[in-house]
């Protein structure tokens, strides 16, 4: 790309041995409805340029959203200064390129082509149907649509040049339901890059059914229960669990999976895959270091098959990178895309029947604060239901569910068959856990 020639020329002139640029540009459109009126419109255009370079054997990072003629000077100077600050002994690597890339077209032009009137009409219909569904729906407190498309390009001094383009849309709605003194809130997101997956009635019914069954919530006695975690909860906890498979965490000795390669890290019922090449809104054929990604099994019947590596962690362990170098806050760390937990054979109802008496957790809150990544211990605000005589019964509200992440995955007794690709990017089923500690009364 000619517009970046000045950056490479200046870097070379100032003694930066290798330069890598990651340029991204995204556009989005969103609007939200409140009381049958479009309450807010938003149009955005994001431009960012992330740069890193090797100077005297160390790596320096800088990024900017300001693209002027002074930008090359700013970035190169900051790279030099920041590289000079690093005292950690670590090989600085910028990637020359993979042999083969499995590029697929995931950008869906239909999303932007569909008329805005249709998108607005959907929102009006969602709000109207939510309100009409039940007299206890006091308010539709959120009703919005967003679409976004982004293009990114990675290029470096070795001549590597990779591009990707993707887009998605989502509908989000939430309701406040009131019955007597009880206030319940519920919502849902439909996130996809395929227009055919969205249906207003399905979306509305899901929210309404989730909201209304919450009434009459109580707290159960505080003790250990056989527990079913709904897939939404599994997704919330799986990300923290898999962070332990990051080679970066292992090397920093903060992982709970140190020394667990080819060892059990979960019960035999659990198989987890990372599928970055699965064609959906989360597809990516190269990671943020330019390494070709590939699908892999991370946990096979409970046994850890691999850690997630970027170039640096792989070099330290003397292995190949697994294409899991992802950017967070400017620098490149270790991440993952498109996680799939393999479904079992029993339906959710069959799990309840098998348990007899226990607790079904449908929602957890405050994972960022109340799950300690160092110890794996968690104690989370939760909502759910009692399971009595093999069936879902009384709603539970303002309880806490506590346990240890590693113990929990070791204690998976059964995996349900209800997999769904959630808006968080996790394709997971509900799980039956031998026991978790519930605090209520």
């Amino acid at each position: 790309m000619a517009k970046f020639d000045a950056y490479f020329a200046l870097a070379k002139e100032k003694g930066v041995e290798v330069l890598e640029l990651y340029y991204s540009r995204a556009k989005s459109l969103s609007f939200k409805l409140y009381n049958a009126q479009i309450e807010g419109y938003k149009l955005s255009e994001d431009i960012s340029l992330y740069a890193r370079g090797i100077y005297k054997g160390k790596i320096g990072y800088a990024s900017t959203e300001k693209m002027t003629k002074e930008t090359p000077e700013f970035l190169v100077n900051e790279i030099i200064m920041n590289a000079g600050t690093v005292t950690k002994e670590e090989l600085a690597i910028i990637f020359k390129g993979s042999e083969k890339y499995k590029k697929k077209k995931v950008y869906n032009p239909e999303i932007a082509e569909l008329s805005i009137d249709v998108k607005k009409k959907n929102l009006f219909e969602i709000e109207r149907k939510l309100k009409a569904a039940d007299k206890r729906i006091a308010q539709v407190d959120a009703c919005s649509y967003q679409e976004r498309e982004s293009e990114a390009m990675l290029l470096n001094s070795y001549g590597l040049q990779l591009k990707r383009k993707s887009n998605y849309y989502y509908y989000y709605a939430g309701v406040l339901a009131i019955q007597g003194e009880e206030r319940k809130s519920e919502g849902d997101v439909h996130f996809s890059n395929d227009l055919t997956t969205f249906n207003v009635d399905t979306f509305v019914n899901k929210i309404i059914s989730k909201a209304l069954i919450k009434f009459g919530g109580t707290q159960c006695p505080s003790k250990d229960y056989k527990t079913v975690l709904d897939k939404e909860v599994v997704a919330d906890l799986l990300s923290a669990y898999l962070d332990n498979a990051s080679a970066d965490e292992v090397q920093k000795k903060t992982s709970l999976m140190i020394g667990k390669l080819n060892q059990p890290v979960a019960s035999k019922k659990v198989t987890i895959m990372e599928m970055p090449l699965k064609k959906n809104a989360f597809f990516t054929y190269f990671d943020d270091e330019g390494v070709a990604t590939y699908n892999k099994t991370v946990v096979k019947k409970g046994v850890l098959q691999t850690y997630f590596h970027n170039l640096n962690t792989a070099h330290k362990d003397g292995v190949q990178t697994t294409g899991n170098g992802y950017r967070s806050g400017g620098k490149v760390g270790v991440g993952f895309q498109n996680i799939v937990l393999k479904p079992g054979r029993k339906s959710l109802e069959e799990l309840f029947a098998k348990i007899g008496d226990g607790v079904y957790i449908t929602e957890v809150m405050g994972v960022h604060a109340s799950l300690n990544p160092t110890s794996g211990n968690f104690s989370l605000q939760a909502n759910g239901f009692m399971i009595e005589n093999g069936k879902r019964s009384t709603p539970l509200t303002l309880i806490t569910v506590a346990g240890n992440l590693m113990d929990m995955f070791m204690n998976v007794k059964e995996v349900a068959s209800d997999n769904e690709l959630l808006s968080s990017g996790y394709d997971v089923p509900s799980l039956f856990i031998k026991k978790l500690t519930i605090a209520g009364k």
Binding site: E39, K42, V86, T87, Q139, G366
Partner: protein
Amino acid sequence: MISKKLASVLLLEATASGADFAEVYLEDTLSSNLSMENGKIEERVSTNGFGVGIRVLKGLQSAYGYTSDLSKKSLMKLAQDVGKAFSGPRVLTLAPLEKVKVKEIINLSTQPMETISVKQKIDLLKMVNDTMASFDKRIVRTNVYLNDMVKNVTIFNTLGRYVEDTRRRARLYMIAVAAENGKIENFGEGPGASDGFDFFTSKIKLKEMAIETAKSAISLLGAAECPSGKMPVVIGNGFGGVIFHEACGHPFEASAVSKKLSVFWDKLGKQVANPIVNAVDDGTIPFGWGSTNVDDEGFPAQKVQLIKDGVLNSFMIDQFNGRRMKAEQNGHSRRQNYKFEPTSRMTNTYIENGPHTVEQIIAATQYGLYAKKMGGGSVNPATGEFNFTVSEGYMIRNGKIAEAVKGAALVGKGDETLAKIDMVANDLARAQGMCGAASGSIPTDVGQPTIRVTEITVGGRRGGQ
């Protein structure tokens, strides 16, 4: 970067189709993050955030757009595109832009961070690192981070307001990781201010804080799992104020109140707490982490009495939500950056000193949890349900502090918990946090003296007792 003349043209353009208010918000932010692990500098990352947001309002509708492309052509298109969200004839005559003089509250340091060399910063981190690392051989890892930024903001609006403001903030974050017999625990502290280097070197006792952090990590190694169930909870000062932030602060924001989504929306002038409870949100504290010279709509920061003698006295209000409430803004409109439309947010929120002492509170509690230090949490303003985590806790037995416990989460409803505060001590302290909500992640202070709540659900990994 945007002249007064260009701003006038953009405002005129944005209001062509019936908007009754328009605003141009320009931001240029330079930040640097320095991170040290086990005494070695891992990296320094420099970032330049830059862009313009244009907002138009028409009654209870808003339209917002932003871009980092500041060419005149791009800005004109943005102004037209957001303006076209509405349809109708022009209704607004623009007031001429007049520069408002900003009263400096936060920008007064004689040692602004951008004048401090990287070496001086590294030396500071090294001191903190070495203090924690050498405290006990069970400290196996230490992380110290220093983030500092200078944000230059320019705001123009159709009320004729033209404001230029500079915000400087710095925060140091330290984490000590302790390990023994296969157990790993960590503890962190993060002092920060809208201040310069002298905040860290002379205004706070950084070394003592590092010792306390290491000590807390070590004490967690020996802590038992917290029992669960409903019990009285004594919440320590400083970051303990996160309970008030989550349980009452968010539901006191106009964004929740104006739509009657907050459990407190109709409680103005009503008794919501014990008369010993007084609480404020004060954006005017000199050098305060959550303080602002002007808010993100360009209005001066204010001190607002939220609760007076247990009676709900005021909410935190921005212009847009104020329209629905038919109330004036009170300097509480904030946003993370130009990518967000501003809305009502907290600044420095705290419960004021009360009539008791910490010793009296502990002695008056037969059995309960002493949540000495709190971690983070969250709240659903619509139901008032909150959760937050106890990072350092002790059981109270027979009016005395007993064994250390860990892994406790507190859950409850904001309005009920507020009504159950029955003792308030006199050791007010504030602590720093980042608060995430609709308009992004912003710096806020939480704070309180030690308080007692007669009953909260405590969730721990040890079952009920």
